[in-house]
C-alpha cells in the first residue's frame, strides 16, 4: 500500500510522482536514472569478470564536457560508489581525460568553470587535461606524417610552437568535411596515445546511439566503411587498445533527460551549440549532414536509426592481420580481404603505393572536393 496520495505514480516504484517518460514508461527521476544506468552497465559487464580481489582493468574515459560523455561519467561514478559502499567488486578503474575544448573548436568556448566543476563533483578520480596540440608530445611521429599527408603546399615551420604548427596543418585542409574528418582522426590518435601511456587497456567512448548512427553513416559516405568495426562497433582498435561504446542503447534525447535531473552535471556540461539554420547543404561537413539526417529521420522512423549502429556492430572485424595500415588513421590500406571491388584500382590513381588509406586520401588537402 503506498503511504502517499500520488497524482500520477511512477510506474516502476509506485512510490513517487512520475517525472519523466522514457520508452512509453512514466518514471520518477530515481527509477529513470536506474533504467538508464542499467543500459550502460550491462554493456560493461565484461569488465566485472573478476571478484573483489581480482585484477582491475584500467579504462580511459574521454570527457568532452558535452552531454553524453558527462552523463556516462556520472553513471560510472554512481555505480562505482554504490559498489564500494556495499563491498561489491567494481572490476575496473577509470581515468578521465579532457582534451581542452578551446584548443579543438575554432569558436574557443571557455570551459575553465566547467572543468573546475568536474574536478569538484568527481574528486575521487584522476582527471587529466591536455591541449589538442599535445599530440606532438604524445605522438612525435605525427610531425612527419602530417607533412607527408598535407603535401607540397603545406610548409611546417619547426621554430613555431606546437599550437601554431597544428593550427597551420589544420588550416591547410580546405573543406569542412575534410577538416572534421582529419580532426577526428587526430583526436582519436591523441586519446589512444594517452591511454597507452597511462596504462589503460580500453577507451570508453561517450557516443549515444544517435551519434553512432551518424558516425556510421558518415564513415560510409567518406569511404571508411572498413573501419566501422572499431569506430562504431565495440572492438579492438588497430592500436591494441579496445574501444567500447556503452551508450549505444541510448538515444541522445534520453541522455539529455538524464542530465536534466542531475544536479551534479549542471555546471559541468557545456550545452550543445544549436545547429546553424541558414547553412547551405554544400557548406556542411558530411558529419554534420549525417547528424541532421539522424535527428530528422530519427523523429519520423525511430527504429530505423537504431538499426544503423546495431548493424555496424554485427560486422566482423577485418581478418587482415599484418596487412599494411594507414600512417595517419591506422585503417586498412586498399580493400578488405574478400572485397574484389575495383574502386581503389580504378578510381583513385593516386592511391597506389600510398601510405594513406582510401578515406584519408579523400580528405587530403590537394583533393578536389
Amino acid at each position: 500500500m503506498p503511504a502517499k496520495e500520488l497524482n500520477k505514480p511512477c510506474m516502476e516504484c509506485k512510490d513517487a510522482e512520475f517525472e519523466l517518460t522514457v520508452r512509453k514508461r512514466q518514471l520518477c527521476s530515481l527509477c529513470f536514472k536506474r533504467f538508464i544506468a542499467h543500459k550502460v552497465q550491462s554493456r560493461l559487464s565484461v569488465y566485472r569478470a573478476f571478484g573483489l580481489d581480482g585484477p582491475k582493468t584500467q579504462l580511459l574515459l574521454p570527457v568532452s564536457l558535452g552531454v553524453s560523455s558527462s552523463v556516462l561519467l556520472h553513471i560510472l561514478n554512481t555505480d562505482r560508489q554504490h559498489r564500494l559502499d556495499n563491498g561489491r567488486p567494481v572490476g575496473y578503474d577509470f581515468k578521465i581525460l579532457v582534451i581542452e575544448p578551446s584548443t579543438v573548436a575554432a569558436t574557443g568556448i571557455p570551459f575553465d568553470q566547467n572543468y573546475e566543476a568536474l574536478q569538484k563533483n568527481f574528486p575521487m578520480h584522476t582527471i587529466s587535461r591536455i591541449p589538442f596540440h599535445s599530440i606532438f608530445d604524445y605522438a612525435p611521429e605525427m610531425v612527419g606524417i602530417m607533412k607527408e599527408y598535407a603535401g607540397s603546399k603545406f610548409i611546417d615551420d619547426s621554430t613555431r610552437s606546437n599550437e601554431e604548427r597544428l593550427a597551420a596543418f589544420r588550416a591547410s585542409i580546405s573543406t569542412p568535411t575534410s577538416r572534421t574528418d582529419v580532426d577526428t582522426v587526430l583526436l582519436t590518435r591523441l586519446i589512444v596515445e594517452f591511454a597507452k601511456k597511462s596504462g589503460c587497456e580500453s577507451i570508453i567512448w561517450g557516443d549515444s546511439d544517435s551519434r553512432l548512427a551518424a558516425k556510421a553513416l558518415a564513415g560510409v559516405a567518406k569511404g571508411r566503411g572498413s573501419s566501422l568495426t572499431w569506430q562504431v562497433s565495440d572492438g579492438m582498435s588497430p592500436w591494441g587498445v579496445r574501444f567500447e561504446y556503452p551508450l549505444r542503447d541510448l538515444y541522445k534525447a534520453e541522455l539529455l533527460q538524464y542530465e536534466s535531473v542531475c544536479a551534479e552535471l549542471s555546471d559541468v556540461v557545456i550545452p550543445d551549440q544549436p545547429p546553424s539554420e541558414n547553412v547551405l547543404t554544400k557548406n556542411l561537413s558530411i558529419d554534420e549532414l549525417m547528424l541532421r539526417y539522424v535527428q530528422n529521420q530519427g523523429a519520423k522512423y525511430p527504429g530505423v536509426m537504431a538499426n544503423v549502429a546495431r548493424t555496424a556492430n554485427k560486422l566482423n572485424p577485418s581478418a587482415s592481420d599484418g596487412a599494411p595500415t594507414c600512417a595517419l588513421c591506422a585503417s586498412l590500406l586498399g580493400n578488405v580481404k574478400g572485397n574484389s571491388g575495383v574502386t581503389v584500382a580504378n578510381q583513385a590513381e593516386d592511391n597506389h603505393s600510398s601510405q594513406f588509406c582510401y578515406g584519408c586520401m579523400r580528405s587530403r588537402p590537394d583533393e578536389l572536393c
Binding site: 569511404g223 578488405v336 571491388g341 580504378n346 582510401y358
Partner: protein
C-alpha cells in the same frame, strides 16, 4: 571567360565538367574516358568470357540505352567476342510503356541487336494497369520492381541465355548500401554491392557493368553521343523512406562529389565483413527464386493480388522492397516534372 583547354588532351576546348571529379574535358575525351572506365570495370572483375551470350535488360531509359551503346562499342573495340541482345519487359502500363518500347525497338535497329519483349501478363497473369486498378497508385513501384527483376531472369532463361546485364549505376548502388544499412539488412549488405549477383537456382548470372558510373555522367554520355532514349520512366512515386535516402545521397554529392563512389567502396568493404551466418541465400518455396523469406516477394505480392485483398497487399513496409531497386527511373521522373513546371 576564356575557353579552357581539355584536362586530358590539353588541345580541344573543354565543354564538360565531370561530375565525378570536376575535371574539365572536351567531348571526345569525356566519351573515351567514360568508355575506358567501363572497360576497366569489365576487365578488372572478369565480367565476361569470349563467346558469352549476354542479354541487356533494356527499358528504353537512359541507363540501359547507354549500357547497350557502351557494350556494343567496347565489344567491337576490345574484341570481347560477346553475343549481345536486348531483352525488354512489357509491364503493361498503357500510354507510357508503348513509347519506351518503341524506343527499344529503334535501339535494336541502331545497335543491330536482336530484341525480345516479354509481358507481365504472360509471366504473372497481371499487367501493371490491372495491378493499379486493384491496389491503387501508392506502393506500385514495389510491384513493378519486384516483378521486373524476376521477369528479366525468366525471360533470359526462356531464351537460353545465362547472363543478364542491367543499367544500375553508382548512384543506385550507393543508395542501396545506405538503405541496407538503415534497414539493418545484413544479407543484402553482403550482396548489394557486388557487380555480379544471382547464380541462383535458375543459373542466371546478373551483373551491372555501370556500377561505378555516375548517373550524371550517364546522362552526359547519352547527350553527347546523341543516343535515342525515352525520358519518362516510372510514373509512380517511390516509398517515402527510400526517398529520404535518395535526398541524402544527392546532398552528399553536393558536399563531396566523390561521395557516391566512396559509399560504393565502403559498401564493398562492409560486404566482405558480414558474418558468414548472415550471408546464407535461401530460395522461395514456391518458385525457387532467390529470397530472404520462405516465400519470395513476387509470390507474396501475387498472393495478395490473387486473394483480391487490395489493402493488405499494399501495406509493404521499408523491408519489402526490391533489393536492387533502380530509382534512377524515379529521379529522372522528378527532373522531368521539375522542368515541366
Amino acid at each position: 571567360m576564356a575557353p579552357t583547354a581539355c584536362f586530358n588532351c590539353k588541345e580541344a576546348r573543354a565543354v564538360i565538367i565531370r561530375p565525378k571529379n570536376r575535371h574539365k574535358l572536351c567531348r571526345a575525351c569525356f566519351i573515351k574516358i567514360f568508355e575506358t572506365e567501363v572497360h576497366e570495370t569489365i576487365i578488372g572483375t572478369n565480367l565476361f568470357f569470349p563467346g558469352e551470350r549476354v542479354a541487356i535488360g533494356a527499358s528504353g531509359g537512359k541507363d540501359s540505352t547507354v549500357l547497350a551503346a557502351v557494350l556494343k562499342t567496347l565489344n567491337e573495340r576490345y574484341d570481347y567476342g560477346l553475343d549481345l541482345c536486348l531483352l525488354s519487359i512489357d509491364e503493361g502500363i498503357r500510354g507510357y510503356r508503348d513509347d519506351s518500347l518503341e524506343t527499344v525497338k529503334r535501339n535494336a535497329v541502331q545497335y543491330d541487336m536482336p530484341l525480345d519483349i516479354l509481358g507481365y501478363s504472360e509471366l504473372y497473369g497481371w499487367t501493371m494497369d490491372q495491378v493499379v486498378e486493384q491496389v491503387g497508385k501508392k506502393g506500385n513501384c514495389t510491384y513493378c520492381g519486384v516483378f521486373r527483376r524476376q521477369a528479366l531472369d525468366r525471360g533470359a532463361a526462356r531464351l537460353g541465355i545465362r547472363h543478364v546485364v542491367t543499367g544500375h549505376n553508382a548512384d543506385d548502388v550507393a543508395e542501396t548500401v545506405m538503405m541496407n544499412l538503415l534497414r539493418g539488412d545484413l544479407p543484402r549488405l553482403s550482396r548489394g554491392t557486388s557487380i555480379v549477383t544471382g547464380s541462383d537456382a535458375s543459373d542466371i548470372k546478373r551483373s551491372k557493368p555501370l556500377k561505378y558510373a555516375y548517373e550524371k555522367e550517364i546522362v552526359l554520355y547519352a547527350h553527347h553521343r546523341q543516343l535515342d532514349y525515352f525520358t519518362t520512366e516510372c510514373i509512380y512515386s517511390p516509398e517515402a523512406f527510400r526517398g529520404s535516402a535518395r535526398t541524402l545521397i544527392k546532398d552528399l554529392e553536393k558536399i563531396r562529389p566523390s561521395s557516391i563512389l566512396d559509399i560504393v567502396k565502403s559498401g564493398e568493404d562492409m560486404a566482405a565483413l558480414v558474418p558468414v551466418e548472415a550471408q546464407t541465400i535461401k530460395h522461395c518455396e514456391r518458385c525457387n527464386y532467390i529470397s530472404s523469406q520462405r516465400i519470395c516477394k513476387a509470390c507474396t505480392l501475387l498472393d495478395g493480388l490473387n486473394r483480391n485483398r487490395p489493402k493488405t497487399a499494399i501495406e509493404v513496409g521499408v523491408g519489402m522492397e526490391d533489393e536492387e531497386s533502380s530509382s534512377t527511373l524515379m529521379r529522372q521522373m522528378e527532373r522531368a516534372q521539375l522542368s515541366a513546371t
